[in-house]
Each structure stands twice: as structure tokens, then as C-alpha cells.
Subunit: 689 residues, 2 copies
């Protein structure tokens, strides 16, 4: 190890000589600690709890069995699981918001249904009471929600409106005569839908409805509404609904629909932190603007998105650990040796399929830890301002789509990398993929979230111009124009191309520099946003129809810009995390992983870099060849890199990742070896002739 | 319509004016006929049969219930389903191989488990008896296989060897004393695995084993082996196995494992068309080369891959029909109008996600019909030569990976496009996706198949050189070098860039030309293959280890070249199909769909075109903008384009594609309209102040 520590990290690439790589190795324990992030003890405690087989999913259970099992697991968690952690001390908690989510994310190992049903009960139902309510509501409802005496639904989405919450149809009309709210579903599209706990187990719901008093519609508010008789589990009078039935996954959760026919609840059931109605029917709110009030209320629910980001990382890690472990044991096709078949992971295409996903999973994990820290900063009150809240919401809206889509892709490629064995439920990948599927659209549809991120990027862009006077703006525009000309002038490109041709290795060397990767990634986001802003400028003077049409014409680019932003965030988190790796050898390897992630992003968007003159054709060509070199470099460390995720067999629970495959092969080889030794082996026909 | 018919098809693009598009419309009936391909009557008859609810999948059935249901469906098919169609007339068939597959593909509408279990019984088990056996075997085994009196397994894959069939471990050793074959599983890795009908229902199996006689191993042969007692359904003596249990999908099929402990079967159970053993133990074969014999035997099984290609097209069509229909009804978010929300498919990003997949589904469908025709030409004997067989196998190996991956992607995007509703099992997309998952790795792992295609492309490339003398080769090489120089010279690129800048519309105009698209697609395949061939040249003089390493270093490029070839094949099939559309208006729209497919391919690989100097940056930029224009053009026809797939509600069976969503919205709008008219509507807070 001593030679390694003496070589500076940045000099890895002047060595074309793979022998120099031989003395680096991952310190799996150390890297594992880095990966545990901000809440190592809580995560390890949660994993220990999840090692208890009472929490494990039993593949192939019927829907009713699975639902009962998960409900029972929630009851266990309510006793043993530290589920009050984010709540105030008078409810047994520690006001520890980040730690609360870290623990919940780890439930994914046991069963994503357990994670999501827990999310419904504590992360949505109880958290809505806590964050949207005041002490009055806390005293009345919170203890029973936390103890799961009252399993509750979070009744926001309607059949007719999901992403567009502001347009829901359910009403809560204040009746001054009885001091009650009348909850009503005016038409079928306003049925609440897809709600966990609504199908079967829930006895109450936090219902989102348009609050109407004195003839004025004050927009969406949340109200606590009992829905089922706790003794008979029958719907209460005026409440109805139906089960959503079988789903593509997450069948441990009883999603369902609810409707209300003039159901009356006391005035005080309104969760009244951001809006209240006096007994006389006068509406009051600490936030004047109805729009800002609405977004403030919804903003308290960001933790759902944060936890989905974390769960997506867990699922990707599980899938890759299974696929890489199997790929390191499974052999198929003889290569140059007649008696020895090739290990799958030695195939270049197998590396190409799995290792960039592994690099991206590392990036997503580090980015998630940063998101969790930002979340905790805001929710702990340590750094809670309108700006930090908005930043947090933007970050969550950027990372959740990126990591959930990544998880689906990773699980699918992992499944295919395990062939038919990957398709067996016992090896878990198909089940995880089925469960994770809906993560791409719930708690904010991924595309809708990315559009929000894009709009925020546009707003930030226009803000940088807002504080400049006209002369400075003109100068900036001129500079940009000059930039564009420089990038687009063939002559300059030609010069650059010729310069590059001289030494391809130096080109690759540049691309592995942290600063070069950052420049390329930042430049792309900034340029994309600037170009969209430029293209949308006429909208300011256009009719609403024309403005909408213009925006729509650039929607795809806006979503792409948001994706680019999210990728940059992941890359920055990964780069920052390298500093936390103290073992030089491990840091060396992890830097290659970061380079693989950065270069894979640049390769994915190479067309953009070429079209915008940011990379010459010559340098662009080195991107792919450098990725190939990184794959070769990382291949020997692939197992260590998944081992560092820290999963034991009790978490993986996949027979193909248990060593069984290697055992079967050893047996087969021993058989053939003995047969050859005995002289009894049949002669192959082609040798016989 | 008259103005349309007078405008020539190729002039679509000089009209920037969308009003000109208003008078084109898809003749859904006519396009539907074109899509029905070579076997319209058989496909329609199969769809009619599949409208019978006895064949429909019941979502949420337990595994045992689902298996029994599918077995029962097979028994119905054996009576009503024309399952003998590909077999000789003395077994009730018509020697109609293409029609046989066309019918089977249509079973996918009812339940992919039904398609695959039918495929196991008739396409693999019975077909192996037919194609690998002689009249002796047909007389003895075929009638019971066809009538499903004997449900049978196709026992080729082993736990230890899937794609590499040549390396299986099971042996069939001839015992001259008793004139029997002794079937034996020497170790755990040689257990037969993942076999449909092996888990529960099968009473016999066609077992692939290394045939050993007189001390010589003659390689893999197929032998008919009874496995279960038909009365008790217990394993016969010496036979064992286990159920593969729950899978990620296709749970209507009882996949399982089998092992054999010195199980004896009569000599005549050998399916002896390509290899036989005399009573005295002498091995005989009409094919001398063991390698060619092996590939000839496996080649008879190409129909499995052909039918998976067809099933993938069916599943993609189903998913898109559901998603496009829903996207044409579902509204979300108000745009410029306060009372009218935007239809999902009017969002540019929604179009960007769904319509290129629709174009690719059209391409895959047309390519499949060409594959089916090639298959029928060979198997009918009309055009059965070693060359046409090899071409057929290459074509199937190219298209099956392309269409099955496309189906998985399409179903996932379709699911997400339907949001939470898409995740409900009742809307079918998640179930189809789960079932189709394994299509990517069974009947030949997609990556392995693409590598075979790549090797064939390399072989063809070297053949073109074989017949040239040294001078001609030198000239060709020189020309290629000149080409490369021309493409790579910045000066020429600069000139081209400047020329392009002049008229972007003319650039786009060029890209929509059939000849330009073809040139770009062909050029890419040819250049990629040539470059790989060049890179692999040193392998001829290298050691086996070095040659293997060199090949491995280019494996990824080879797979990419094979994908490019498959895409070109699809594009050519689509282009040829345009000629079969006689209605000018329909042909116009379908030409746009073809252009969308072609341009999407070019956009996907734009980096390559830029790096290799085939497109200037200026022209490359027009690719994306032309795609945007095509999306706008095609959007009004999206519904017609999925309606032309010809599915009725009885085939779709997805409530969200039934019009229910539009009905709910009409009800909601009527409610709000009446409320506004009554003057009772609450005033929005922001208007109230």
C-alpha cells in the first residue's frame, strides 16, 4: 500500500500500465462508513431490525396475506421502530427529521411495501397532522396516529387530479349554524384515489378539500375526517369508497378510493396552522397570498420525495449487489481455455452494462445524503428560510426523478444480467422492480417535477439579470453572443481538432480532471437554460394562448435542462464525497468511479457537446476510449464496490448472490477433472476422427 | 381529400403551414389491413377466438389457479385453436409454418402465459419431435403431443448453461446390451432448469443431452423421455426435479427443474433426423461436421425467436393503444383557459415520450411481417438453402432483441404516461410488462444474439474481400482512407457547415428524403463493421488468449453494430410497407411516421454521425427540429394510428382506455358549468379581495 499512498491521486492516468493498478484495493470497511452518511448508527440499527425475519417480504403471498403482514409489521415498528423520531419530545420523539427519514429508507431492504405503508402512516398521515396542524390538532390526533391505533389515509389525490393538486374537486364548506365543516365529493372525478390505508385498514383520513366559508373558496386545506368505525371497520355514514385492487407492485398496501356525501366534522378538525375559520365563519391565515399559502402547505410534504430518493438508492444498491456478485461467479462460454469458461463480468459488454450503473448509484447515494442534510437543516429550523425551503424543494424535485428512473433501469439491467435466474422471484430483483415502478409517478410525477426544476432554473437565470443595469445586461448578452460565435466558428473548431490530434492521451487526461468535468457539466446546464430563456422571451408580450404555446414548444428542452441540472448535482455530491475518503487507495478507486460517472454523463450528451462546439470530434472520441479504460481499471474492484454497500445475506436474501453458483461450478469442474484423470471421459467426436 | 391526393407525397415539407395538414386523415380500416400483414384471416380468426373470455387472464389469480387456467386454455386450443397448422396433413395440419406463428402471436392479447405455454407445447416440444425427429418419432409421439394428451417440456437449458447450449452436462449414453440410452445428470449445475411444463403438468420431455456411444461424445442430441406417471403425476423412477416457484411474470406457466439418475429409454426415443445410433451402437449422421450438425439442430428452433418478436409487437401495440387513448382523454393543469384543462397528449413532452415509440412499434411490426415471410419461405421448403436458413437465423437474432427491449421500454413509458391509473393491474400494462420481461433473455439472451449478428456481419464483410485480388483490396482500402480523410478534414466540414447555414429548411428537406435516411443508416452499419474488422485483424496472427482479449475489447462495438443493423432492417421494412398503402392521405401520414422513426434513429446516434463527419453540426441541429415538427404533425393522427392496430375493448380490457376518463371529465365540467350558471359558485379568494 505504501507505493500507492505516495502516488498522488491525479496522476493515475499517465500510467497506461495496468500493473500499477495492482496494488490499489478498496478498504471495504472504510468505504462502507463513508456510504453510511450522516446517520450511520441509525442506519445500522434499522438494518439490524430489518434482519428480523418478521419484517421480510414473503414472495408469493396473496394480496390479503401480504396486506395483513405489512400492517402487522407497522404495529411492530410502532413499538420497536423509533417511528416517533421526527416528532416532538412530548410525543416520544427527538425532533430528528433527517434521522427519521434515514431509518425509514432502510425499511426498503425488508419490503418496499413496508417502507411505503410506513410512509403513509407516519410520513404523510401523522406528519400532515403535525406540520399542517397546531397544538390543538396534535393533542387530539397525533398520539393515536403515531401508535397506529388509528391507521390513516392521506387523502389528497383524486381520480381526476393527481399532479395538479390545486384543481381538486372535494369541498369542505363551513356551516356556521353547527360549527362544522361539510365534506363533500361533488362528482366521480373528485373521489379520492390511490390512497394507502383507504382500501381496508384506515379509520381516519387527512382529507384535502377546497375550504369554503361565507361564499368564498379559500383553496385547498387539510381536514381530519374519521372514515371507518373502529369496531366494525364499516364505513361511517356518508363515507364510501372502494379498493384499488391488485397493482403492479406494492401489494402489501391497501390502496383505495374514498368519497364523501355531506359528511360533517367539527370545525376544530381543520388542520389550522396555515388557515383557520373562526366559530363565526371568518377565514384567517398567517399567509396572505392564497398561492403562497398553498405552496407552503404542500412544501411541508417534501419529505416524501426525499425518502423516495433514498429508497431508490437502496433498491439500486440491492439490485447491483446481486447482479455483480452473480456476474463475478457465473461462467458462460469457453474462451481461450478448453476447460475454463469466462466469468460474466470479464465480458466487456457485461462491464459496460453494469459498471456505469454502479457509478451512477454511488453518485445518487452521495447526492441523497446531501439532500437529507438539506432537509434536516430546514426542518430542524437550523436554516429554515423561504429561500432554503425553496432550494430544498427544488433539490428534491431534481433528485427524486433522477434516482427513481435510475433504479428502474438498474434493476432491469441487473435482472437481465442474471438471465433466467434473475426472473425467479426468489432472487428478488423482479419484485423490487415491480414495487419501485410507481416511484416514478407518485409523490409528484417525475416529468412534472423536472418541469418545476426547469422553471426554477429559468427564474434564477432571470434573477441574475434583474439586478444588473441595462449596460451590464447588454455587455453580458454581447459576451454570450461572442461565446456562441467562438463555439460555432468552424475555424476555431478546426484548430482545436488539430491541437487534439497531437496527443490523445493528454486529451483523456484533461477529461479526467475534476475541473474539466465540472466545466463541461456546468456549461451545459447554463447554456441550455440561457437558450430556453432567450427562446421564451417573446412570451412576456404574448397573449396567454401564445405564451402557453411557446412554453409548450420548449417543454422538452426544459425537462432536459432539469435533468442536466440533477446530473450536475449528483456529480458535485460525488466529488465532494471523495474528500471524505481518507484511505488513499480507496480514494483512488473511488475517483475512477467518479470519473466513470462524469464521463458517462458527457458521453450520454456528447451530441450536445459536439453541436455546441464544447468538444472537438477528436476530444469527444477520447471520452469513449477513456470510459473503456476506466471499466478495465474498475473491473477488479467491482465486488468490493458493491460489498461496501454493507449488505449481508439476510438483507440480500437472493440465492444467486449467496455463492451457490460458484459452488455448483466447482462441483462441475471437479467432476470433469476426475473424469479426465480416470481416463473414462468420452472422446469428443471431432478429436476422435 | 382531393387536394391531398393531388399533392405529391414528397412535397410535404415545403409547407410550413399546418393548415395544409388539416385535410389529411388516416383511413383506419385500410391501414389496419396493411398492418394485418400476410395472414389477415388467420390473425382476425385468432383475435376472435381470443375475444372469448375463457382465454382472458384474470388478474390477481394465485399461481396454482393461473396455471390450471392456462392448462385448460391449452386444452381448449388443442380442440378449437388450429394448433396443428404447421404440422403435416396426416396430423391434421396444413404445413403452414408462417400462419401457425401468426396465430400464436395473437394469443398474447389474451395472456402472455397462454402464448408461452402454447409455445412450449406446440412450438418447442411438439416441434422438436417434428423437426428433429423422423417418421418413426412422429408416429410414436406427435399425435399425443399435439392433442396435449402428453404435456411436454423442452429440456435444453440447464442451471449451469443457458445461452451456451453446447456446454450442457446431461449425458445420454448408449447401452448396446439393452439397446437403451441412459440419461444422466452428473452434477447439480446440469439439472435442466426454467422449463415450462416441468414444474407440474409435463409427463414427458424432449431432453437435450450429449450423446455418447462407443466411448465417443457426439455432442448435443434430443431424446424423448417420459418423466411423470400420467395417472398419479408422480415422477417416474430415476427422475426428479422441483418447481421454479414464483417468477417476475408468466406465472400461468409451471416452470421447473428436472434431473435424471441413469434413466433408461429405448434407443428409438432418440429424435434421429440429424444423428442416429444403430442397434450395435454405431453413430450415424447425414451431417459430417459436429459443429454444423449442432447448429442445424438448433436452427430448427428459430421459430421461437420469430414468435417472440411478434409477441413483442403485440404487447407494444397494446400498451400504446391504452396510453395514447388515455392521453387523448385525460386532462391535467389549466393552460391559457380558466375552465379548460390541457389534454395530456397536447403536451410536447408527452408527445416526445409516446410518438417516437409509436413510430418504432410500426417499424417493428412491419419488420416482423418480413421476418415471418422469410421464416415461411424457409420452413415451407420454397426457399430452403443453407444460405437462406442462415439469413433467417440472423434476421431473427437481430429483430428479437430489438423488439423485446422496445416492448419493455414502451410498456414502461406507457405505464408512466397513465400515472397511478397505469399502475393498477386492471389497466393491464404492468402485467404485460412483467410477463414480457423475460422475453429479453429467454430463447437466446438479447446480448448474446446481437453478438451472433455482429459476427455474421463481420463474416459477410470479410467475404466481400475474399473474392477480390490484392490490388482491388488495396484500392478499396485506399478509398476508405480517402473517405475517412474527407469526413474528418475540418476544412470540408467547415464548408459543409457554411453551406447548411444558408437554408435550414432545405437541410431538413434532405433528411426526410428516403434516400438520405437510407444512406445515413447504411453508412453507419457498414462503417462500424469495417472499423471493427480492421481492429480485429491482428487477431488472425495472435495467440488464442490474445485473440480472445482483442475480441472482448471490441465486444461493445460489435453489439452496437448489430443493433444498428437491426434498426436498418426495421427501417427498410417500414419503407417497403409504405408501398402497400394505397390511400394517398394515409400514405402521407404513414410516411411522416416512417420519417419520425428514421430521424429518431439518426438523433439517437447523432454523436456517431458528428464524430464521423457524416453530418455537419448545422444539419445535425435540423434533425431534432424536424422531429419536433413531425410530432406536431402526427399528434392529430395519434388516435387513428393506434386504432389501426385493430383492437376492440375486448382485447384491451383496460378501463382507462374505455372512455371512462372522458365521461368523468364531462360530468365534472357539467357540474362546474351548472354551478356557475346558478350563481352559487364560491368566489375564489384572490378574486374576492
Amino acid at each position: 500500500m505504501s507505493t500507492t499512498t505516495q502516488r498522488p491521486v491525479t496522476s493515475i492516468d499517465d500510467a497506461g500500465d495496468p500493473r500499477l493498478d495492482a496494488d490499489v484495493a478498496v478498504d471495504v470497511g472504510h468505504l462502507g462508513e463513508v456510504l453510511l452518511g450522516h446517520y450511520p448508527e441509525l442506519r445500522l440499527a434499522a438494518r439490524k431490525l430489518m434482519a428480523d425475519e418478521r419484517f421480510h417480504r414473503i414472495e408469493g403471498q396473496s394480496v390479503p396475506e401480504h396486506r395483513e403482514r405489512v400492517l402487522g409489521q407497522l404495529r411492530l415498528l410502532a413499538v420497536e421502530g423509533d417511528v416517533h423520531r421526527s416528532f416532538p419530545s412530548r410525543f416520544g420523539g427527538f425532533d430528528d427529521h433527517g434521522g427519521f427519514l434515514a431509518r425509514f429508507e432502510e425499511l426498503t431492504h425488508a419490503d418496499p411495501s413496508l417502507q411505503i405503508k410506513s410512509g403513509v402512516q407516519w410520513g404523510l398521515f401523522a406528519s400532515a397532522i403535525y406540520h399542517l396542524g397546531t397544538e390543538r390538532n396534535h393533542d387530539e390526533f397525533l398520539a393515536d396516529a403515531l401508535s397506529i391505533k388509528v391507521p390513516g389515509a392521506f387523502a389528497m389525490t383524486e381520480t381526476g387530479h393527481g399532479s395538479d393538486v390545486a384543481a381538486i374537486g372535494t369541498t369542505a364548506t363551513y356551516d356556521v349554524a353547527t360549527q362544522e365543516f361539510v365534506i363533500h365529493t361533488p362528482f366521480r372525478a373528485a373521489w379520492k384515489d390511490y390512497l394507502g390505508n383507504a382500501g381496508q385498514h384506515g379509520t381516519a383520513a387527512v382529507v384535502f378539500a377546497r375550504l369554503v366559508t361565507q361564499g368564498v373558496d379559500h383553496g385547498v386545506h387539510a381536514i381530519y375526517v374519521p372514515i371507518r368505525d373502529e369496531a366494525t371497520m364499516e364505513f361511517l355514514p356518508g363515507v364510501g369508497g372502494e379498493d384499488d385492487g391488485l397493482k403492479g407492485g406494492l401489494n402489501g398496501i391497501d390502496n383505495g378510493r374514498l368519497w364523501f356525501d355531506h359528511v360533517r366534522v367539527p370545525r376544530t378538525n381543520l388542520l389550522n396552522r396555515y388557515g383557520d375559520v373562526t366559530p363565526e365563519g371568518v377565514y384567517e391565515s398567517p399567509i396572505d397570498s392564497p398561492g403562497r399559502r398553498f405552496f407552503t402547505m404542500l412544501g411541508t410534504l417534501v419529505q416524501g420525495r426525499v425518502s423516495l430518493d433514498g429508497a431508490a438508492v437502496v433498491a439500486s444498491r440491492l439490485g447491483l449487489t446481486i447482479a455483480v456478485t452473480y456476474g463475478n461467479q457465473r461462467r458462460q462460454f469457453a474462451s481461450s481455455s478448453p476447460t475454463e469458461e469466462v466469468v460474466l463480468l470479464d465480458y466487456a459488454e457485461h462491464q459496460r452494462r453494469l459498471l456505469p450503473l454502479l457509478a451512477e448509484t454511488y453518485a445518487a447515494g452521495f447526492a441523497h445524503e446531501d439532500l437529507l442534510a438539506a432537509f434536516d437543516d430546514v426542518f430542524s429550523g437550523r436554516n429554515d428560510t423561504p429561500e432554503t425551503r425553496e432550494d430544498l424543494e427544488t433539490l428534491a424535485a431534481a433528485l427524486k426523478p433522477t434516482s427513481t428512473w435510475h433504479a428502474l433501469n438498474t434493476l432491469q439491467v441487473s435482472r437481465e444480467a442474471c438471465g433466467g435466474a434473475g426472473f425467479l422471484a426468489e432472487n428478488r430483483i423482479t419484485g423490487l422492480r415491480a414495487d419501485l415502478d410507481v416511484y416514478a409517478t407518485f409523490e409528484g410525477d417525475n416529468t412534472v417535477l423536472l418541469q418545476l426544476v426547469g422553471k426554477r432554473l429559468l427564474a434564477d437565470y432571470s434573477k441574475t439579470f434583474k439586478h444588473l443595469d441595462a449596460v451590464k445586461v447588454a455587455r453580458l448578452v454581447a459576451e454570450r453572443a461572442a461565446d456562441a460565435a467562438r463555439y460555432r466558428t468552424p475555424l476555431r473548431r478546426a484548430t482545436q481538432t488539430i491541437a487534439d490530434v497531437g496527443d490523445p492521451r493528454r486529451s483523456a487526461g484533461q477529461l479526467r480532471e475534476t475541473t474539466t468535468q465540472r466545466e463541461l457539466l456546468v456549461d451545459r446546464v447554463e447554456t441550455m437554460v440561457a437558450e430556453i430563456a432567450q427562446a421564451l422571451r417573446p412570451a412576456q408580450k404574448a397573449s396567454p394562448q401564445e405564451a402557453a404555446a411557446l412554453f409548450n414548444a420548449h417543454q422538452h428542452e426544459l425537462v432536459e435542462a432539469a435533468k442536466a441540472h440533477a446530473e450536475l448535482v449528483q456529480w458535485e455530491s460525488f466529488t465532494a464525497a471523495l474528500e471524505r475518503v481518507t484511505d488513499p487507495s480507496t480514494r483512488q478507486i473511488l475517483t475512477w468511479v467518479r470519473d466513470l460517472f462524469g464521463l458517462s454523463l458527457i458521453e450520454r450528451h456528447l451530441t450536445w457537446y459536439l453541436l455546441n462546439g464544447r468538444l472537438s470530434a477528436g476530444r469527444a472520441r477520447t471520452v469513449t476510449s477513456y470510459i473503456d479504460r476506466l471499466l478495465t481499471r474498475l473491473r477488479p474492484h467491482a465486488q468490493s464496490l458493491v460489498d461496501a454497500f454493507g449488505y449481508e445475506q439476510v438483507h440480500l436474501r437472493a440465492p444467486i448472490a449467496s455463492g451457490a453458483e460458484a459452488g455448483r461450478q466447482d462441483e462441475a469442474r471437479a467432476y470433469y477433472k476426475a473424469q479426465r484423470a480416470s481416463g473414462d471421459a468420452p472422446v469428443p467426436e471431432k478429436h476422435h476422427r
